[in-house]
Amino acid sequence: MNSSSGKGSMSTASSSAAWKTGDVVPDKFPAGLRVLVVDDDPTCLMILEKMLRTCLYEVTKCNRAETALCMLRENKNGFDIVISDVHMPDMDGFKLLEHIGLEMDLPVIMMSADDGKHVVMKGVTHGACDYLIKPVRIEALKNIWQHVVRKRRNEWKDFEQSGSVEEGDRQQKQSEDADYSSSANEGNWKSSKKRKDDEDETDERDDTSSLKKPRVVWSVELHQQFVTAVNQLGIDKAVPKKILELMNVPGLTRENVASHLQKYRLYLRRLSGVSQHQGNLNNPFISSQETTFGPLSSLNGLDLQTLAATGQLPAQSLATLQAAGLGRSTAKSGVPLPLVDQRNIFSFENPKLRFGEGQQQHMNNNKQINLLHGIPTTMEPKQLASLHHTAQSIGNINMQVTSHGAQSGQNSSLLMQMAQPQARGPTLDSTVGHAPRLPSSMGQPILSNGIAANVSTRNGIPENIRAPGYNPVSQTSSMLNFPMNHTSELPGNSFPLGSTPGISSLTSRRAFQEEVNSEIKVPSGFMPSYAIFNDLNQHKPQNWELENVGMTFDASQHSNSLQGNLDLTQSVLVQQGFSSRQVNGQSRSAAVVSKAVFSAADGTEHVIAQNVNQHLDSLLVDNTIRVKSERVADASAANLFPDHFGQEDLMSALLKQQEGIAPAENEFAFDGYSMDNIPG
């Protein structure tokens, strides 16, 4: 086996590194691609290794899934792609796939001698980027680099998109790009996320024909209408039929709405989980966060209760959020939360969220994207990916906090709602800050959960974070509640968010975070951004350093200190989101939230982002809110996503949250929410 884990192990390491950080593909590429191949069959393993070497890839082989996971965890940035067998004695290949997606967010190719349609479909629904039938020919391996490139491009796109409202096109483009290339990929325009959603639906129904339903292009306007409808109904009650009625768009079917809703929920979850997309930072999230922050502290019992209930948002934070209403720019913690939301929003694959958010909640959000005024880092895609994201999100959050006011209020409610059901779901949803956002309930609850989780883990519980059952981090460090029903334990994703608003989690997080010392004052009640907070706490210093923004972020957070405000959470979220990525490594203890998610903290930030995305999808697939996205939080503390945009994810997560769009209840199998709402 070669040790291809080190980036620099190969002569083309530099090129691969360069390739990693940007869209630039070095000349030698794909030579030097670092592949991890897992198969219990020694014969196949040897053959594959030889074939991959012949393709000039750097190969590491491994005959056990557990070993592979360890390797991946130890070296988050050590691999570009994973190829795994489906049938393995110690762990099912799909399970490994999920773990990887959640924790590291690397592209994974499944392979098997089994070519049954059902199995291949499983690969798709679990988020594999391709499925190879054995015996594998070298020609099939020659092209695997495309999956790596595609994923990065998608991440970038998400990031970029979050920055502007027009992203819609990008998204489409993105998805289009993503669509073709992988044989197993479906042609979702939304890119993998969407695909996953579809698959999710399909998977549930076990009816592939459902995928064939006519695709509706969700334009910005349409999405905004959708979000408006959802917000009107409330996340809890947003059922496709009613949404359809409210939208009153001729030609739109309930099925279209249903699938879109699913995705949206995922997106929200992701946002809360861990702003997968770094780019999302600036968005609307911020505005919502602001409000949330403010209100957070007060947590009047606003929906926060619900949130709290869900574990996500500390009741207080919710209250505050609510109180802050849209008008309140709690500006507490400087917005971290909003950012998160934003991020979520953005991360939500499509501009939809953005729009939705922009419209409703984030009214302020429009500026979202660049709310980072204060933040030095500009969200340049590239840079953002790594630093900016974090910074931005932070900045955005700050910015938003002030502007949100209104939004947060909304978000809070949303969050609240989301929190509840979500509590389980996406741990990462980093709902924390967003409270209102809950939509990503996943994320948010996660925050709370995460925070709680983190806290718990820190306290010992965090592990649950996975499904961030959002521990209502509320006010007390009781974050641990994670409803995270997700089945999957969100590997690591559960952002150790501990960041649940201010709540003790923050503080506790700090404790955990040791490293982080995050001042993140986790808003005591608000944990929405569970993961985020954790990260924030932890990473703060670190992750944020990248962006400077982060640092400020922290500062603001701390200042807010436990106001229990979402602000912190938000910021925390943001930070967390980022930091979680980064921090994950740090807060290992604390971050337990997603356990796996954060474990990636080491620097798998980008991985996290990816994971989050991936995970979300895969998570959703299982209906468990696996909050993979939350994993983002895992992002290694070291760097917020050196390559990727952790921020982006965070932002998207934030955005999502902000949007307050009904947390994908259905999707995330949160405790409160069952997929029943999902259009059937």
Binding site: D40, D41, P42, T43, C44, M46, I47, K50, M51, T54, D85, H87, P89, S112, A113, D114, K134, P135, V136, R137, I138
Partner: protein, 154 residues
């Protein structure tokens, strides 16, 4: 026998194995992977296959010998064998495994036992053939010649 002749025999022998279905295109892939840096690649992989397969066949025999046959386990083993045999190009073994799996699904013990026999037979056959092939190659190399690349023109 001089090298040229040996090489001719090797080529003919190899061709016959393909014609008779013992080997398929995947085996060629393996041969193509062999190069100076890995001059014994094919032999190594095939040896690995032999060891692994024998273990699997033993496990299968034991599993089917149980009073309460665990078909899931049997299926898992067969699946594994199918994967590895297909990877090296042992076509007949692979086909035997496919049939075997069908009977596993039906949970038909009798048929499974028959399949197991069948697969074992095919396995030993191809093992013999390949070992003969390698011996031929060794002879050529020992005589100073080089192994001709197979061209599957047929």
């Amino acid at each position: 026998m001089e090298v040229g002749q040996m090489q001719g025999r090797l080529v003919d022998y190899t061709k016959s194995l393909f014609m008779e279905g013992f080997l398929d295109g995947q085996f060629l892939q393996l041969q193509q992977l062999q190069d100076e840096s890995n001059p014994d690649f094919v032999v190594e992989v095939v040896s690995l296959f032999f060891d692994d397969s024998e273990k699997l066949l033993n496990d299968l025999t034991m599993a089917l010998d149980q009073p309460n046959v665990d078909f899931k386990k049997v299926d898992a083993h067969v699946h594994q064998l199918k994967g590895s045999s297909s990877s090296i190009g042992a076509q007949r073994v692979k086909n035997g495994c496919i049939a075997f799996r069908n009977f596993c699904e039906e949970q038909n013990i009798e048929a499974c036992l028959r399949c197991l026999q069948q697969v074992k037979q095919e396995y030993y056959l191809v093992k013999n053939k390949l070992e003969a092939l390698f011996r031929l190659e060794q002879q050529i190399v020992a005589a100073g010649g080089s192994i001709p690349m197979m061209e599957m023109g047929f």
